[in-house]
């Protein structure tokens, strides 16, 4: 029997793909271009908008360094790589190509972020999250937000793998002709 192209699973995959893809791409882009300070001054206090990318990356490195988890050389390399990795993963999710690979990678990345955020929160460190560029301190809401994102991402990954096991109706039609 041919399955419908609009099953609940496919709708969920599409929605999660768009949300996670857009968020990942935005997270990387925000670290490079530091947007939205103009009309969200209270949310992003004290930051000048749109500095050159080199300065934005060096500033992002100071945010990673504040977590005090990595040696300085690793902080610098991660700061220069992470925004581009996030943009690439976000775009790959949005495009929808080889979803199993990218969904797994995004889930692994988000689980890693979540562990670090929970550790920071439980230690009581009042540092900025740095998740979407410079911003306010890491709070319980940050933990909650990251927890929800991890949940969505893991569910998305499981659904993508389940979906891959059943043939797509359109793909079946192509095969038949």
């Amino acid at each position: 029997m041919e399955s419908s192209p609009l099953s609940i699973r496919r709708v969920l995959i599409l929605a999660a793909r768009l949300v996670l893809g857009a968020l990942m791409a935005y997270a990387g882009w925000a670290k490079l271009f530091i947007p939205f300070f103009g009309w969200k001054g209270a949310f992003l206090p004290g930051i000048s908008p749109h500095p050159p990318v080199g300065i934005a990356l060096a500033l992002f490195a100071t945010q990673i360094d504040a977590y005090q988890l990595l040696p300085p050389w690793a902080v610098t390399r991660l700061a220069h790589a992470l925004p581009f990795v996030e943009i690439a993963l976000g775009l790959l999710l949005l495009i929808g190509w080889r979803l199993r690979v990218w969904a797994s990678l995004v889930s692994a990345l988000l689980v890693g972020f979540f562990v670090i955020v929970v550790r920071t929160y439980t230690l009581g460190l009042t540092i900025p999250c740095g998740c979407f560029g410079p911003g306010g301190a890491l709070t319980f809401l940050t933990v909650l937000r990251d927890g929800v994102l991890v949940g969505v991402s893991l569910l998305f990954t499981v659904l993508v793998f389940l979906e891959a096991r059943s043939p797509h109706p359109w793909a079946a039609q192509e095969k038949a002709t």
């Binding site: 791409a25 100071t62 360094d65 902080v75 775009l91 410079p134 306010g136």
Partner: protein, 210 residues
């Protein structure tokens, strides 16, 4: 099929690039509050102004002081690249930080801020436990200097200065310490939390390069 995906990617990249120029805001007015001349370091004409909101009882401030300050002074402040302004931001969660700020501000008025700042950070763990700020400060001042400092602390003459720093910090959005506002060429950047010197100096070098 893959061509459609490429077109979608190109559209998204274009959208991101187009929205990069959406907003612009004036930088916050750091350095606008009156500055105690004994709590500033380096040349006023330095290309970078660094305003540090600090709490003497905060462990992260101690980390910043012990890990970054000496090299920062050697390579940036003493060479005329950075103008450093100390601002007190005693957090209410620390029982003795307000007292420590009082003693440090009073010591600044007798020209001994650096010595008192050093001893307060270096012996933070001891006075954090005992609450003996007075005894800690007395260890690095002469009896005559200590008498003046005690008089200033008891009279409350230094409190308005600390309050001014706290008010300025709150107006800038300082929520935790240490928070550094670094201004270069009219642009201000916040650096929040403890840092290692290597990462910090790369950021300063980036600013100087632009």
């Amino acid at each position: 099929m893959f061509r459609r995906q490429l077109l979608a990617a190109a559209f998204l990249v274009g959208l991101a690039a187009a929205t990069a120029g959406w907003t612009h805001a004036a930088p916050p007015q750091t350095g606008s509050s009156p500055i105690d001349p004994h709590k500033v370091f380096g040349s006023k004409n330095a290309p970078i102004t660094m305003e540090v909101f600090s709490d003497f009882q905060c462990p992260a401030c101690k980390t910043l002081y012990t890990g970054v300050w000496r090299q920062l002074f050697e390579n940036y402040v003493n060479t005329g690249k950075v103008y450093l302004i100390h601002r007190d931001f005693p957090l209410p969660v620390h029982a003795h930080s307000r007292d420590a700020a009082r003693y440090a501000t009073a010591a600044a008025r007798v020209g001994q801020f650096e010595a008192v700042e050093r001893v307060l950070f270096e012996k933070q763990q001891a006075w954090d436990a005992s609450g003996d700020v007075d005894g800690t400060v007395a260890g690095v001042l002469t009896p005559a200097q200590m008498k003046k400092v005690r008089d200033l602390v008891k009279s409350g003459a230094v409190d308005p200065e600390i309050d001014r720093d706290v008010t300025l910090g709150k107006s800038l959005g300082v929520g935790s310490t240490p928070t550094c506002y670094i201004t270069c060429k009219g642009q201000t950047y916040p650096v929040i939390g403890p840092q290692s010197y290597q990462v910090f100096h790369e950021f300063l070098d980036q600013l100087l390069k632009q």
